[in-house]
Symmetry: none
Subunit: 259 residues, 2 copies
DNA sequence: GGCTATTGGTATTTTATTGGTATTATTCCG
DNA sequence: CGGAATAATACCAATAAAATACCAATAGCC
């Protein structure tokens, strides 16, 4: 509602008398977007709302809106509404919450989807045997997916677990952690390591960037309450499109860091 | 019961009239979770309960709940109920602990030293004026150093502060924060942004790596208790030699969900 | 162990709201 | 006068929101 009012106020104050109505309206909307009054993903008032409130015909409103749609500023969905086009910019992900990828993107009005790259049981690599504590006769479950926002690939996630805790990788729904819950294997602690790497050919191709550009690499090892390692995940994020944000607090002078 | 009432109260007070019902409900639940009114592991009222008490259809309730399930906020179990999902949270780390390069390296048994690249007062750049809230007549103190562990250059740190809080950059000893303490300017909060970049020629030469290799870039803005920005630091770490480690812990119910 | 109330899961339909389009009148300017 | 830009009217089509009715799994009680 507020967003709408911003536009209307702007339209009123616009002393561009003489110019065609649809041009005045177009400029008002454009400016509202550029000034951030309505952000990417936000919905505009319906064409009829704008028309009645601004007391002009809907076709005139439509002309203004369509110009902006053609210019890529707005996006329209039949039966749904008109929205400010999501810009990719840089995506910020809070470090404090892990599972919020989908939620985070949805809040920005981005269309999120995942593509499975791999889901299956394999003979473990030496690395996996070490970290997960497997013998060479046991199997490892590998789960890999490409995360995509607005048709732009953002990250590759590769998880490895003991086949004992995830006997059927194909059965995973949208959340790996949810699947672990159902088998009673809950990680209670994890250690994450963030580093930077130059993307290799394969990963670069998946993320649709030239090989060699910088990527954020995150390795995570999750532990059960018993201290046993349950999961080992290596994720690569596009460096040009992703930021990790962490908020820090300084402990007081008297307090110890951790008892 | 209490948890349910919290939600309903929130739903009533929500003056988001006009918005779709399921969105209002979704926001209410989301906020209840974020504010800790219902913690991880707690059960939500049944879909039918919510529906009848809020006087809306169950499908509408379901739509809201399912969105949150997809986002990983809630977990549903057929025949059992809907629960707040346990989530991984980063264990709180103190500012000094996270940023103290020397301490970090010493813990790994490395011999650490620094080389000053720059220490002086300058006219502020537009960026610095913006972030630090300076006028063009004020001066900015810039402090830059190359950090070296075991004779291997690991990072470049460039800090910018108002000249008011650091009138004599040359007088800094080994710790910038110690110098700030003595003038009574103590940051209590900081926001960090971690990203990846390909190192430019100058930085690559300082870090003794070929240009173009991946580097971890960390931007940090520190705040005083008053909320004023006191420091703006941009650091670049060699991606192949430095890791940023964070520990995560799963917050959830003490008891097991599934026996 | 098996029954049963309670829980989430699903399919189908109705309705209101949204953008989409064709047609027509008006104004402005060469 | 004529053509193009502008604006208004009336109607079409797609989507989302919401409700109804029914299915299936779980937990708890006997």
């Amino acid at each position: 509602m507020s967003a709408a009012d911003q536009i209307f106020a702007m339209l009123k104050e616009s002393s561009q008398s003489g110019a065609p109505l649809y041009l005045q309206l177009r400029r008002s909307i454009e400016e509202a977007v550029n000034r951030g009054l309505i952000g990417p993903g936000d919905a505009l008032p319906s064409e009829r709302d704008i028309a009645s409130k601004a007391d002009i015909s809907r076709v005139t409103v439509r002309k203004a809106v369509q110009d902006l749609v053609k210019g890529g500023i707005l996006v329209q969905r039949h039966g749904s509404g008109t929205f400010v086009a999501p810009r990719m910019e840089r995506v910020e992900q809070s470090l404090s919450r892990l599972t919020s990828f989908t939620e985070d993107m949805a809040r920005r009005g981005m269309n999120v989807r995942s593509v499975w790259l791999d889901r299956g049981l394999y003979a473990p690599s030496p690395d996996e045997m070490m970290v997960l504590g497997l013998s060479s006769t046991e199997l490892v479950a590998r789960v890999a997916r490409l995360r995509i926002a607005n048709d732009t690939p953002l990250a590759i996630e590769r998880a490895a677990l003991s086949a004992n805790v995830l006997p059927d990788p194909e059965a995973i729904g949208s959340s790996l952690y949810a699947a672990l819950e159902t088998t009673g294997n809950r990680p209670v602690r994890a250690v994450q390591r963030i580093s930077a790497t130059n993307l290799g050919d394969a990963d670069a191709r998946l993320l649709e960037v030239p090989p060699g550009v910088a990527g954020l690499q995150i390795e995570r090892i999750s532990y059960l309450a018993s201290g046993k390692v349950i999961e080992f995940t290596r994720s690569v994020y596009r460096g040009d499109a992703y930021d990790f944000v962490a908020e820090l607090r300084l402990t007081g002078p008297g307090e110890e860091l951790r008892p």
